[in-house]
Amino acid sequence: MEKYSVIGKRLPLIDSVAKVTGEAKFTDDLAMPGMLVGKILRSPHPHARIVRIDVGKALKLPGVRAVVTGKETPGIRYGALDNLRDELPLAIDKVRYIGDEVAAVAAVDEEAARDALDLIEVEYEILPALFTPEEAMRPGAPRIHDHVENNVSLALRVPLGGDVEAGFAQSDFVFEDSFETQFIAHCPLEPHTALATFDSSGKIVLWSSTQGPFYLRRDLALTLDVAEARVRVIKPFVGGGFGGKREMLAGDFCAALLAWKSRQPVKITYDREEEFSATRRRVPMKIYLKIGVMKDGALVAKHLRVIADGGAYNGRGPMIVASGASQMTLVYRFPHFLFEGYHVYTNNPVTSSMRGFGNNQIRFADDSVMERIARELGIDPVELRLKNARLPGETTLMGAKVATCGLRECIQKVAERGGFYKKRNGRATNATSRQGSLRGVGIASGAYISGAKLFFEHDSSAAFVKVEENGSVCLLTGASDIGQGANTVLAQLVAEELGISLEDVRVVSADTDVTPMDLGAYGSRTTFVAGNAVLAAARDAKEQVLEVAAEKLEANSADLELKDRRIYVRGSLRKSMGFQEAVSGALNSPKGIVILGRGYYNPPTDYDPRTRQGNVSGAYTFAAQSAEVEVNPETGEVRVLSLVAAQDCGFAINPMATEGQIEGSVSMGLGQALYEDLETEQGRTLNPSFAGYRIASSRDMPPMECHLTQTIDPEGPYGAKGVGEMTLVPTVPAIANAIYDAIGVQIKSLPITPEKILAALKERQG
């Protein structure tokens, strides 16, 4: 008999029919009587002082109902942590990037709102602007934020595990290299949208395409200077976030402010140009990496130095720099580490959270140097990684306690299924495929957290399980389904725990006035943290159900089990009753018992943000990927022929959804490795459209295999760990290493374009 009835099964997402039929309502699908259209006026200058704003003409335009500028706002800055708050939702004195928000308009239709923007007169005093971290860090460089000297908003120097210099001294070989990553856009299909209303009591209701309504409520209340209790945030269906909908953006704030001013509902939907040029983007990093290694391939010491282009405001940037470095110590074992990180303000658009949170950039550098070590020391690249791979039960240099780890299995799996040995040997005999093209294979690894206490003292999530008289269950969770399938996975957990069917569970989620709290969909925390919370609530409900059933069945509740919508007495097939019968019977009695389960979960971790050490997450997830590529030496074109991914997910509650995460990641990683680059010149985005900014299309996708390694983590819900970000982390270095294998030259900056490949091949030929 199978162990589980609902979890571990390949079940379609519970909202898939609503999405496929178009029935699902996203924020922009919502409309209200008297609703106005809001538009934002953005700075055309990368760095300027606002001398004067005149909205008189705009207000006189027929159809315009309200215009707001920064002067009318409370002027409260917001950000990830108290010490990182540097951003105003509407600029008051100064603009710091092209796209910085200056004013907003609400009008009866889009045309009037757009025309009104053109009528707002803004006088700017242009200030010298800085576009690279290097020029921004130079002594005497103009300050982008008055309180930050040399524009360095975070400088870190973290030595760990002894003495890195001694480590290099005792190493047989030392490798040193520099890498560079690019600006990347999140490209959710649904752009940022916010719809705000005010009721007569002065309460704000905001529907927003957000990854975390509770987080958004905090920032909205803070910046509007109103009590949190007067703000309700609702997350409707969300069409993808990838980290870009984690933070409050000006659209949320301006919709609320305009609604207050006009006393009418206001909706602001960003257009694609705004999405590309004026929302958040991935943090580009210049990465210097020095690795000391013994001749047998054992890693001894690493010195990592990262200079990150933070753009005009912090966003989550400083934490991204720290996170990428700390998680570097998770993947491979080594005893000495020195990390230096700089998060630097520039007058580029803001860089912040994106799927992988700094790890993608660092892993590109780290697994690229690993590849060079393998090649130059004549060690098999798979063996080199296996030799150094993290093992379960270990504590990392940072203090992460790794309970379960399937990294070795993942590496072996992708090497074997990717035909790694065979292809490598084939290449050694200088076999080339058709038309003289060059083939290569590459491998890379990654590791990631399952939630972390980085933004608050806690990392909590809570849930209610409301059991109805009719035998169905309503799950109330604060967790945010943003397309990744959170609602389905959480419902599966409830159904499994209560022994009922998936269709018996309805999910109401992510509404700050209705559901209990959750911090949001980030840090790969939802399945692990919210899953544990939901499980706790389901177990609470279960206990109550069993208690009422025990009385009816004249048994001890500890001897009862729930399965197939029935409650059985263990060992006695004849004594049983229906789940609905038990629940209904309990209510329809003089006691009138109502079953309400409640629970919350906060990971038992002990990370200290001051020392940046300790166990940061409740569980750690691992992965490896291998890629095979074909490079055309005439044109520099790269075709990824196949990709194999192996993921230690702890336990796959819904393997189909887990594979969906992997497949989506590979398409993202493919774009980031080969095509995607927000070309930015003097702070201006040159390709703000899907025609100019090329993501991987369905035709670029290679045939791929997903393998799930199930390590059953003792802390995870039924053993599950987070996968949302981990799946993307190894893709770029796996493809980069395959290209290196194919052409014999390492391209150290992303994306790896045909131009860079041709230039490298030319240089090699001399």
Partner: protein, 237 residues
């Protein structure tokens, strides 16, 4: 993104188009398939602060559509004169034409693999040529084949080689009141060979990075290469 406000004309003859052009000059634009023009108009009307440069000044106030004029989608062939293509003939029309396939396989191949079906059934060869976008993949084959355009204006008519027609990205020799009434592709001297190659950043539906068209006649080779950013032409005898 939405379109800016403009006045739309639907003339019934090319003469009428010429006189409208003569009246409105640079403030008017001719609409054929619209695959370039409509995108450009939307871009110019989009978020004022985010768009490149100050394009507001150049938003045309008049758009002259050619749809209402009959006979502009023609593809005709006669021995000696070669192929004649009308100003509203689309890439799909050419790709579906058995006469082009037989008489001018180089042109046919260029039209067949250009962009994707939706664009091919809207975009016109002449419209593409007149916009002189570096992504107009059809220009190199036309140059290789020695194609000519017939240019008309209110009072005159002239012929220009395609080779001399495009003066750089988004630049042509067309004067304010002129439009292209016909594209003529002469028969190459028999026997001949040809090749058409196209490279994109990603997949076929993307804009081309490089397009190369080769026409090889007895004792004569013409190679035309177009690179996305800069249109370059090379000949060798």
């Amino acid at each position: 993104m939405k379109l800016p406000r403009f006045e739309y004309f639907s003339p019934k003859s090319l003469q009428e188009v010429s006189s409208l052009l003569a009246t409105y000059g640079r403030q008017a634009r001719v609409l054929a398939g619209g695959t370039d023009l409509l995108v450009e108009l939307k871009k110019k009307a989009s978020s004022p602060s985010l768009r490149l440069g100050d394009m507001k000044e150049t938003i045309p106030r008049y758009v002259i559509g050619l749809k209402g004029i009959s006979g502009l989608t023609r593809i005709e062939y006669s021995a000696g004169a070669g192929l004649c293509v009308g100003p509203m003939t689309t890439y799909a029309d050419v790709a579906d034409s058995s006469i082009v396939r037989e008489k001018s396989p180089l042109l046919w191949q260029g039209c067949r693999i250009f962009s994707r079906p939706q664009i091919r059934s809207a975009a016109t060869l002449v419209g593409n040529l007149c916009n002189a976008s570096p992504s107009a993949d059809i220009v190199p084959p036309l140059i290789a084949l020695g194609a000519k355009v017939k240019i008309v204006s209110a009072g005159a008519e002239r012929e220009v080689m395609v080779e001399d027609f495009c003066g750089g990205p988004f630049k042509t020799v067309l004067k304010e009141d002129e439009l292209v009434a016909e594209l003529n592709i002469p028969d190459p001297a028999e026997p001949y060979g040809w090749s058409y190659q196209r490279t994109t950043k990603r997949t076929a539906e993307d804009e081309a990075l490089v397009v190369v068209a080769v026409l090889l006649c007895t004792g004569y080779v013409k190679v035309v290469k177009a690179i996305l950013e800069v249109v370059k032409e090379g000949h060798s005898q």
